[in-house]
Structures are given as C-alpha cells and as structure tokens.
Subunit: 282 residues, 2 copies
C-alpha cells in the first residue's frame, strides 16, 4: 500500500487546476514509481533551472525560452510532462479549455469536423509549438496526437497569470500565432488552388522540412536523401489536403513512378531530391 502523505494536497491542487483524471492517474503513477514527493523533482540547489526542465529539449525554445529562471521555477511547479500514444485526443472541439501545452516530441493534428462527418485538418504542429487557444473559454478545434507525442502541460490559469506578468512571453506567443497564421494562409493557397498531385507534393515537402529540422538541415548540407516516417495515415493526409484516401494513394504512386519519392514501408518515405519535389508543389 502506497501512502500519499503530503502528496495528497498536491494532487488535490491538480484537480483544482483543471487536470483531468487520466493526468492525475499519471501523476500518481509517477509518485508511486519514484517514491518521493512531486516537489522534490525541483532541485534549486543544483542550478536555477528546475530539474524537470533541465533535460528538456525545448527548454530554450518555444515559450520557455522567454522565461526567467524564477518564472520557469514557478511554472514548472504546475507543469507535467505527459506522453500520449498516437490517436489520443488532446483537445476536444467545443469543450471548455482547462490547460495548454508545449509539444516536446511528435506531431499534433488540429482538425474540425462538420455535422455530417466531413473532416478537415486545419493545422499540424511540431515541437516546440504551443497548443491551445489562448484567452478563450472553449476550444474551437480538435487536437489529436498524430504520432506518439510528449507534451509539457500546464493549467490555463498558470499560463494566463504568467502572461500578465511577463510581456516578453506575450510577445513570444504573438510571434508564434503570427507564424501559424502565415502557415494557415499558405495552406489556403494549397487547398484552394492546387491539383491533387501538387497538394500531395506540398504535404510531403511540409513534412520533410518540419518533421525533424535538426536532422533535415544536416541531410540538406550533405545533399543526400531525406528519409522520414509520415506522421499521418492516408486518411489524415486526405483530410489535410481536402481529398479522398484513394486520390492521395494514386498521387503517391504517381510521385513514385516519377521518381520524386520512394516508399519502402507504408509510412516510410525517401526523397532523393528535395528541390525537384518542391518544383512539383506548383
């Protein structure tokens, strides 16, 4: 039998802060396996950076990059790093917003669904993007883990208070929002004015240049093949491009016969020449 002890209050606070049951169970699991209070995870003697954040790859990127050590310490008291399997719903359309998150690993798919079931993917987000609609009571899209993802989640209130106190954080969020708006508008051109083949080429180009930027730029320098696993199923790709699965599949084979891509396993793609692929984007 595991004794909660002082952690009981901590867990109660999680409830108040809007964490859902699954998240709290995760914390319980953490406590039991680690066998020590949550607070101890922050080691301020060793360094000014919270223990939780020290090994975090996005620590200096995204919104965390703008925070001071003190702020990071404060916010890290409320954040939880959570791993989700592909397919898990992170945000439900129309539901009240309780928390925000930063993507540490993986790809998150934002989508909207019409009453009759038609679905449109309205955005893909990668590390270190911030997910959740700021300053709103309810979500107006659905977010789902496209691949296995690791996110750093924090309660709505905590972020909102931090924003009020830190104009630099708000600036960073404005920059990300502007970037997302640019991307959304760029995608509108693809959705509205491009052929099926161009759409699929665009999608592959997007993934090739976003999925693992560090890896990509190395590859790019070497002028060799770019290899990656698609983070989406054909159905998701179709919903992103405003096409059907069948059409997406046909364009994949077309690109393959034109030697613009190679497909080994279903999701495994190799791009021999990124420039050529870019030209196929229209």
């Amino acid at each position: 039998m595991y004794q909660l002890g002082d952690n009981q209050n901590t867990l109660a606070n999680l409830l108040i802060m809007g964490y859902d049951k699954a998240q709290i169970i995760f914390c319980l699991y953490y406590l039991i396996t680690q066998g020590k209070p949550v607070e101890e995870r922050l080691d301020i003697h060793n360094s000014n950076i919270p223990k939780l954040c020290r090994s975090c790859e996005v620590r200096h990127k995204g919104i965390c990059g703008t925070l001071t050590a003190t702020e990071l310490l404060e916010i890290s008291k409320h954040t939880r790093q959570i791993t989700h399997e592909a397919g898990v719903e992170l945000i439900s359309d129309g539901e009240p917003i309780t928390s925000y998150a930063t993507i540490m690993h993986g790809v998150v798919k934002l989508s909207k669904i019409l009453e009759d079931g038609r679905q449109q993917v309205v955005g893909l987000q990668f590390s270190p993007d911030f997910i959740g609609r700021l300053f709103s009571q309810t979500n107006n899209y659905r977010a789902e883990a496209a691949s296995d993802v690791q996110i750093c989640q924090m309660p709505k209130k905590a972020i909102e208070n931090l924003i009020k106190a830190n104009p630099e954080l708000e600036h960073s969020l404005l920059e990300q929002t502007l970037k997302e708006l640019d991307e959304a508008r760029e995608w509108m051109v693809t959705l509205g004015r491009k052929s099926a083949l161009e759409k699929v080429a665009c999608f592959l180009y997007l993934i090739a240049t976003h999925f693992d930027p560090a890896y990509f730029s190395e590859q790019e320098k070497k002028q060799v093949n770019i290899i990656f696993d698609l983070p989406l199923t054909r159905a998701d790709i179709a919903d992103f491009l405003g096409l059907t699965v069948e059409t997406v599949s046909r364009q994949f084979t077309k690109l393959r016969t034109e030697k613009l891509i190679e497909i080994t396993a279903r999701r495994h793609v190799l791009i021999p020449n990124l420039d050529k692929l870019k030209q196929a984007c229209g």
Copy 2:
C-alpha cells in the same frame, strides 16, 4: 503659389518614415486645402484626444481602443488618414514593410498569387482590423482595397516602438491575430471540404454578418431582409472560394432559384432569411 514653410520639415520626415509618394501628395493636398500646418491638427487644449482621432469611428475599437490619451497623441503625430479607391494595392507581396494601418471604412482583400497566375484570396478584413504583418521585414501577401477604403496609416517604427512600451497594445494585437487565425482555419474547412454551392452560401453569410455589423444587428432584431452590396467582383469571390467565375455565377443563380437570395443589381444582394442561408453553408 503655396508656401510650405515649417511644413517642409514635416513632409521630409514623412519621407524618412517610409511614406510613399502618393501619401505625401495627399498630405500636401491636405495642407493646401486646410491652409495650416499639420501639427495644428492636434488640439490638446480642447481635450486630451487628438483632433484627428476625435471624429474617428474606430477610435475606441481596434488597436486605438487600448491606447492612453498620451499614446494616442504620440501616435497620431505619425498617422495619416488616407482614402483609396477600390482596386488600389495597399501592400505588395514580397516588398519590404514600411507601414501598418487600421481600416476605418471598407473591405480589404488579402491574396497570394502563384507564379503561373493562380490566385487565392487568403483573407478579408473589415473595420477596425489592423493590416500588415507585424515583426517581419517583408510582406508575404498582397493587400488590395476591395471596396473604396479609408485607412489610418502609421509607420512601422512608430507602431513597433509603441508595442514595446505598451503591453496592452501587444495583447490587443495578439487577440486580433488569434481571431484571424480562427477565421483562417474556419475558411480552410470551407475550401477543403465544401461543395461549390456551400462555398458560395458561406461567402454570402460571411459578408452578411461582417460587412456592416451595426446595420446588421438592427436588421436582425427586426427579422427583416438583409441587404448589402458585395464588396468583391465574381472573379474575386471565385479566388476566395477556390472556384472559377463561371461556377460562382452558376451557384448564384441556383441560390436565386432556391429563393435563398435575391440579386437586383449585379452586386446588390438581398437575403430574406439568414438562417436558411446558414443551413445551406453545410
């Protein structure tokens, strides 16, 4: 012969601040017709609000709503209210950004053009929206006056300095950017997943609810017809919806035969029942 006098420096400053020739000629015109220095337009004895802003309808809306009297006075030294005819290009894609603006009247069309000439309208903006891509060196879309528009223009530097000094302004801009992102994503659903008829219905619904909100809400209360002039040509509508002019035209006639709309003159539209139109949006 008109003597510039002290205004010569003021005009020279306009050049430095990045105003283009047309705008400076407008200022000259203003000076000549008013016969007094630009600075006198600010009357700080009468009230704390700059004279230029006092009669402005968007004074309490958009970004101006967040400014203090002092800030308004400061910024109004650099702002110029400019009227443009429909069709005038306000922002050129790929060009350096020199100024931003708030829309006072009219509709502004944001578009992107592919090398082969295909065009996609990526946004429509109404009063009191802010136009221009913040924190970027170059524009990544084109902005054009869709109707005759009146804008309040200010140099890039002036706004950026004001943002640094005033977190509330940055918050307001973040809110608008988030709203635009919501709208862009909503439109992606329309572009990707809706039929031509639904697209046109959506467009009409959008205009009906945005064009003149004050007028609309009165009409709405009375449950009577909504009447407005379309701010776009059929070609622009087609580029907004990812369709051709012919298809747009056919859907207009279809909606007309289904009694969802009436078209008197080419651009003049009457909507007898907004709810029915909304249902046609899918």
